[in-house]
Amino acid sequence: MRRLLGIGSAVGLTLTAVLGLFVTPPDRVMGTLVRLLYVHPSVAWVAYLAFGVTALACICYLWPRTRAPFWDRLAVSSAEIGVVFCALTLATGSIWGRPTWGVWWAWDARLTTTALLLALFIGYLALRRVTVDPGARARRSAVAGLVAFADVPIVHMSVVWWNTLHQPATVLRPSLASPTVSGSMAWTLFLSFVSFTLLYGWLLVHRYQNSVLESRLEDEGMEIALAERWAEAVPSGAGR
């Protein structure tokens, strides 16, 4: 399964890059910049997917009947991946924005909400890093993660309102739907969504595995270290 995801995503991403950079034609309106279309929306989609998975995992953890460490580990794994993809979303969006609108950043609803989403989940990860007791950590971060995620629609609602009030310069009509997508572009776009999603899956599986091992390390790490110290002490000392 893991192998399939790994190979699938690697092949898909390579193809995407090749097609996106060399094979597909430039857009009539946007020119070569349209090539970023094969990267930015997919990365954004994965970020939202990852955070959605985290929120769901938090719910499953907090629900008494389904409570299990699995959900907690899934939550943190997905959140970490989500943070990486979210930061990437903002960065690629910014790279797109600079030549398109002349600015690195615009305070429209989507950008602002995404930036806040990133901040919220960086906070989530910080909270986890700082809480030592695994049970407390799982419960607290589940609540924090859920509350953070639930805040997103409120943030979005308020920012949309905010934006309709001050119309920025007409140049800044940030709409990713502007290029007319057809033919090879459509296929490449589809491929890119699939490939990045496969990559998410692969990363999730591996990151989850790591978190299982981390839990074991927390439990057994002390004993293992002690055993090692004992083993070191033996040669010099009085008999076994």
Partner: protein, 43 residues
């Protein structure tokens, strides 16, 4: 054009680095957890 190149480079380098980091962490965790083959005197 350079913007496009920058975008692709940033994306793939970042994701590649993250993937490598996850794998490296896995290897070090494996190493840390496998070193329990030498029990002390009273184990």
């Amino acid at each position: 054009m350079s913007y496009v190149a920058a975008g692709y480079a940033l994306t793939f380098v970042t994701l590649g680095s993250y993937a490598l980091w996850v794998l490296r962490r896995r290897r070090s965790l494996d190493r840390l957890l496998r070193t329990d083959g030498r029990p002390g005197p009273d184990r």
